[in-house]
Symmetry: C3
Subunit: 674 residues, 3 copies
């Protein structure tokens, strides 16, 4: 169940939303675009169960039959992320209570995922849906729920569950709990379990961090419960997936704070993701890359893009060429499926202008026409491009707990809102990406450190000592780690360590600090020449580093000139770098290049950097496939280091010959075996 | 009842707010300023009914007697827009419930206008007030309530009324309703009428738009109810009016979203308006003009300015000359009355620094002294300037439903908050205004298209097919229409049409689009030379137009260069222009000039544009009256095309002689009969 | 009880927050820094009373014993500003209800200080704490509560108390009350006391101002109640203090709106303050100076700095030299104690990154090391620097009622949010400060006008006639007053006076205005030459002044050129200046210099201005002590006008010799008696 037979190219299809029945025309247009899969069913519970206990799957079945006849595969979604009006009327308590406020009915994702009533009704609709559909051989898989999060659920039963978990974790020992969570502060001490106040009002970062972790565990439990239900029915050839999404800053910006993807994905057969990104002149491919790295790394397996944009918003509608290159970009990142959200633009309600492949007029248009080209080339090249195998020498370690702990008011005192967890992650990720260095993304629980030549650890503010010691050992054994400020500061309960910082990892880093300050005009002083011709300004953060043996790569230049800002240390057989300040992009570039070189990591064989992006992989026949992308409005040429075949145009390339990339172009080169 | 005998010049007068009884001094100062009307009574219910059922109109009667003796006319306002403390205490439910929150007592306009309790107490105070006052012959009219809106009322009885209305509209047919409103989306389908959820939480734009329309109908019903009450008592020589206001963006910016003025004005004898506008160096006269055009067009009749600013805020206190020119500016727009808000500045509470003609010291001051000049000249020129008749060749079509539909989150996905309905309306309105082209402003229900040579239809996003077909027919018959982007997109239920856009009007426009994009750096390419020497940048919006026969006046220049942005089409005997992008002011100017010329509309006989504004009209004697305004700090001269008499200075002007306008000056020329 | 024996140098010490018992090491490090006092106990009620009626002061006693043994003095704080979880669980009504919302448990300062239940439990813990501690001879004083404010308390019993107070004040005369408060406006009239609406919703500035005053009186009553409790127990050698804080705009910006310091300090033995200020390149010393002037003026006595910053935030961590200079800066301002908040940085919860002298690692660091130098020099110089006597020729008159009245929406119509009360205060205060003119700060109730050669009255918008008449008399008798716009506008009930403004003080000022306007490009026209080479732009405010005899120092230059902006008037034997517009800093400088000169006030004997700040005082031996500070990154030299001894370096200075101030340096010169 972890191999696909072919590249999947699809759309979300909502027969229920159509203003009139035009399924035959739609299927004809899908076939003309070689669309071979649709996702259906996940949004329309109220259609399938118009009244409590009254089921009507006729529209779903009608669609399934039509798709079967057209030989289009189907992924069926359980319809639980948006629930019917009658359920809200009968049981208002299924509406999530978030910080004391019950949300009104109307939007999706407003349910309390922990509500027993919600579970009762969800289970019933899921069981009915599965019974009705599971025998369709064109159903290749099921999606459970949709972009599930906890929606801030914090009603009294959630609070009670949280207190029980803490009680169990501390074996009922209140003194230890108070001490570890620092509850003496501002008289927050809890002297009997009954006194435990509603955590919504807390100003204690340890408690808030623990509650956020508990809320994430509720998401995992909810998804596992749905997967178990589906598994009772589904056939062996059918998979279960879920569409994870990412921190949303008007697009998929970074690590998701509200779900631990690594844990929540455990019961799934395939990891699915929803990726939305800037487009037009702002298109870089970075979001596809980091989201794909997360998805691929979770199970070290190819993944499904369950949603990505077609026309979407006016500022995202792709320039000519972009839709085509992006489809292959997902494949290059490790996807086996690309599914647009969605087929047709919706004629009413909230997402009227989150447009699909088709506009509201259902007519062919430039975006649909480009999708036709994708479909034909996916079909033609599927055999060579499905189940690509991707290796990475570099891994990022990301962490939900560090993310949420550093996003709270109490820590923003220190770092400020302008540079938070995902900004630091993205700055470093983007730098590796643009240098064409392939990366995996894992968390402390799931990473096998010895798989990698270099590990990057951005702002791992919260960590138990085991992982930090493992990092020391990994370096000692020959590994390379790039650390950043705020790494290792607190224990697993967000209690700042009492050791001299960076505490446990200080051993490998070979430097320490007692204080940090705002740069306030301070700039870097290059100590070894690696930052020549860079912008030495820093902002937001400056730790005052003192060497215990490390080399100071950069120090400060004014009031704090006796302190270091960036260090490098040989520890055992490995190397540790520590970035103690928030530098310019050019200093970040120089540092990452230096780290890569010192770690013995080869960049792409193509001597290029962004806007030319290269992704290489091995296909099922063992052939090396190189994808070249031009993310710019300017055409560019490069000499190919290999002979091979350009697969899109089917042109043979001699070694050293010039490949020209038009604006927003993609080339796919299958290297000759030599 | 639709003719005035004289120009009215007045103030809102609040005897109840005076710190001491100085009515005799006030009247003396009014007489010295030739003030001939005051509006009283509309704010002080708690004074007239200090306790439930205890009435005391002594202050009102005292004022009425004093005014009668001074031969000053009076407009009495019903006092219902601000209610007494005892009523709030006894019946907290008269406080409006807005999105689930009951407003606290304190401000005005916080009542539920649909509350039967509020109606009961309002009716009683209105009946008592009318009985007490109606025999005063110096009462020339009544104002019902004050700047009435619906205040977001959405309590359960309002929700129930809304559901009943929908049920009736759809004859109880839920399937059709669900389909037309797109309620399958996100499982919002309503399968029994009992399930209808509180609309406050809705994310469905069709439902939200329908509810906004329902709320506007409540305003109309409330005003009609008050008018009916007043009509039971008032004498034939007394009129009923109401003071409508406009979208408020720190001043009267545009069309009012919460009231349909065209419907709500039906039972009134005279339309009244409240106009507030930027002043000092920001004074342009535009707000007086558009508000006046709305007021005049509703009944094709002269109107009353029930409130406009005297000193008001520190940033509005007029420069020397401005108060004088603005008084005649209102007359030039079609008003028969100018009433300042208000006589004296208030010594406590909220509007202490919304200053009147007098400051808190009640002393003469530069603004009062200028008002004296106005009053004397109004009296002197009343006979020639009252009941001016204004004709316009151009009409704007405005629409509340399009306004509210495009102001919602779900549509802002598409257009963005920076360019919304009233911005588009104002951009075009201001352009016509500054070119000195006279306009009417009507809505689809009230316009008689054949009255106009040119009709401008900004962003008529919501429209039934009848009006769109009527526009086609009007053009075919020889009419001219300037359309903009978003015209005709949805039906009357805010459901996007499934036709190729711009759907029904595509026939007349002769062009269509499947997609629209963010300009993102795209600029216009002039195709016919009419945009020479203009700024070709566009922003916010770009439809990708393809001609079905229309001439492309401007296309795009980069990724979308094969598509048009602005088109012109001969259809039958008329012309249709379509503006598919948001252009610069200079492109708008060029386009509007071109449209005017092609439509055979003559601009003013005076060959001038803003900052010199010309308004012409015919008086009751059939004489042509030309008002010339200089809205700038620089004096300017122009040759008069006619011989005539300048009425303010009583100077004869030979044809072709130079008229000099000082900074912030006005001249009024009565043309010689030739 | 108003003299100290020595300079106190201390920290807030929280044994309860320590991650492990390290009190012995802490005391050793304190001793090495010559720390001679700690403040303890004020935050940890839940530790001392873990359950209702169960007391456990063991940690407090342990700390007291250790400190006694180490000969470190102690200030004990009553622990009432943060209360235990069990109290919130048992009596949720102790949580303050602010504008209808009960705050959730979690933060500090969330109690209803008027709750009888809160008083009951607070009294019990205070009595127990006093009984346990009062016999410790190393306890030098008690602090009651912590930065107490009213937290917006407005629950029904508070409303009832407020109505009772008004009823009493107006002897039950509703008519007078309605008239004076302007309640006829918008029908807010109150016709029976039972109708009095909840003041939370009011839009009446008089009512809101009166309620704010009432809320401040609750703070005074609460603190007095605690002081009385402590006084029942404390020994004669022990003092009672409280730590007042200031308007918070991310630091101590200006006058505190929520507490009347002058009234609330009455029962205290010593005034204490908490001062936090910008640091690093933004350090100016201004906040220390104005806060110190308030504290010193209240009782014309030396004061205690109960909290000021050590490392604090990353943007406040002092540059080398700053911590040292700031310690002596407080002494120069009149403090006898400097206590850092706090000793060690906290390892969990809200203020983790409000760092102490020590970082989380408890290790020596640059800031701690600088504190060591402070401690040694405090000890060495204590005898010469304790109980310094400060005289000022200039006084500022500040006023809570004017502050709150001009911070409300209804007045912001007039002045705008960008220039409010504390901005005007700070602009003038900072100007005097930077010119090295010493000032006191008092309010209308506490100032003895005849003590001063010059009185500055910024924006005294609210004032009864007595004080205004006293100002007139003071000037007539030879005093000098610098008035500003908005002075004297309303009576004590925030009712604008009906006199020509500036009403009562117009007599002394010799000028009046009827109108004010927004400058909108208007600039000043210098009439007498004192504004040569200044920036004549104005913003925000321009009163149109007309002279009744005053000299116009500056007028306007455009539309309002016949009006004055700044005036000067000889009245009796004194002078009155009136600033009617909001000028540039350079015009402010020129005006203040002119006013100082005309008032015969000598600036510092050192001919310097900011960034060199001079503060002079007399010590207990009658010697003149001059403190010189360099608040800049650039070293500077000046000639000393006196011979004397520089106390820090113990260097003799001949008259006229050069003193060099390094960046962020301080020198202390004891003048030779001559």
């Amino acid at each position: 169940m972890n191999k696909n037979k072919e590249l999947l190219f699809g759309v979300a299809y909502y027969f229920e939303y159509l203003p009139y029945d035009r399924i035959d025309q739609d299927i004809k247009m899908m076939q003309e675009a070689k669309i071979n899969v649709v996702r259906i069913g996940e949004s329309t519970w109220s259609t399938y169960e118009p009244q409590d206990g009254v089921f009507d799957f006729s529209k779903l079945i009608y669609t399934l039959n039509k798709m079967r006849d057209a030989k289009i595969s189907v992924i069926v979604g359980t319809p639980t992320y948006a629930f019917p009006t009658w359920l809200a009327r009968k049981f208002p308590e299924v509406l999530v209570e978030n910080n004391g406020n019950r949300l009104p009915y109307g939007a999706r994702q407003i349910m309390d995922i922990t509500s027993p009533i919600y579970r009762y009704y969800s289970e019933r609709i899921i069981r009915h849906m599965l019974q009705e559909t599971v025998d369709y051989e064109n159903i290749i898989g099921y999606q459970v729920d949709n972009e599930t999060k906890h929606y801030g659920t914090s009603a009294s039963h959630v609070q009670a569950g949280f207190v029980e978990e803490i009680k169990e974790k501390f074996s009922g020992d209140l003194d230890t709990f108070n001490k570890e969570f620092g509850l003496e502060y501002w008289s927050n001490r809890i002297n009997t379990w009954e006194d435990f106040p509603n955590v919504n009002g807390t100003i204690n970062g340890s408690l808030a961090g623990e509650f956020a972790k508990y809320q994430r565990s509720l998401v995992k439990e909810y998804l596992s419960w749905q997967v178990d239900l589906v598994n009772e029915y589904k056939k062996d050839f059918q998979f279960v997936t879920h569409n994870f999404d990412f921190e949303w800053r008007d697009y998929s910006y970074g690590i998701q704070p509200d779900v631990n993807h690594f844990e929540a994905a455990e019961p799934l057969d395939f990891v699915g993701i929803d990726v939305y990104h800037p487009s037009q002149s702002q298109l870089t491919g970075t979001e596809n890359s980091f989201a794909g790295d997360v998805a691929r790394s979770i199970k070290h397996q190819n993944y499904l893009v369950l949603e990505t944009q077609a026309q979407a918003f006016k500022s995202w509608t792709p320039y000519p060429g972009q839709l085509y290159q992006l489809a292959f970009n997902h494949i290059a990142n490790g996807a086996n499926m690309i599914e647009y959200w969605h087929w047709h633009s919706i004629h009413n309600s909230f997402e009227t202008y989150w447009k699909g492949l088709l506009s509201h007029d259902f007519e062919p248009n430039p975006v649909y026409e480009e999708a036709q080209k994708v479909g034909h080339d996916f079909e033609r090249l599927s055999d060579k491009l499905v189940n690509l195998n991707h290796g990475a020498d570099v891994a990022f370690v990301v962490d939900n707990e560090s993310l949420t702990a550093t996003s709270s008011d109490w820590i923003e005192f220190a770092i400020g809102k302008d540079v938070n967890y995902n900004d630091v992650f993205r700055r470093l990720y983007d730098t590796f990406y643009k240098l064409n260095v392939r990366t995996d993304i894992l968390n402390p629980k799931t990473i096998n450190l010895s798989d990698y030549a270099l590990v990057v650890v951005p702002m791992l503010y919260v960590s138990d000592e085991n992982f930090l010691k493992a990092l020391n050992q990994y370096i000692h054994d020959g590994g390379n780690v790039l650390f950043t400020f705020k790494d290792g500061v607190t224990d697993e309960h967000v209690k700042v360590r009492t050791d001299i910082q960076p505490a446990i990892i200080r051993e490998a880093i070979g430097a320490h600090y007692h204080m940090f300050v705002d740069p306030n005009g301070e700039t870097l002083e290059d100590q070894t020449g690696i930052f020549e011709d860079t912008d030495l300004h820093i902002s937001e953060w400056a730790e005052l580093l003192e060497s215990d043996g490390a080399t100071i790569l950069a120090s400060y230049n004014n009031h704090w000139k006796k302190f270091g800002a960036i260090t490098e240390n040989k520890y055992g057989n490995g190397m540790a770098w520590y970035l103690g300040a928030w530098p310019s992009q050019s200093v970040t570039n120089a540092l990452v290049k230096h780290v890569i070189n010192q770690s013995g990591i080869s960049q792409s064989d193509y001597d290029v950097t962004f806007p030319v992006i290269v992704k290489s992989a091995k296909n099922e026949y063992g052939a090396n496939i190189d994808f070249l992308f031009n993310f710019s409005d300017t055409s560019t040429s490069l000499a190919t280091p290999f002979s091979g075949m350009e697969l899109i145009k089917q042109e043979h390339m001699a070694q050293g010959s010039q490949v020209t990339l038009q604006p927003w172009d993609v080339k796919i080169i299958e290297r000759s075996n030599r």
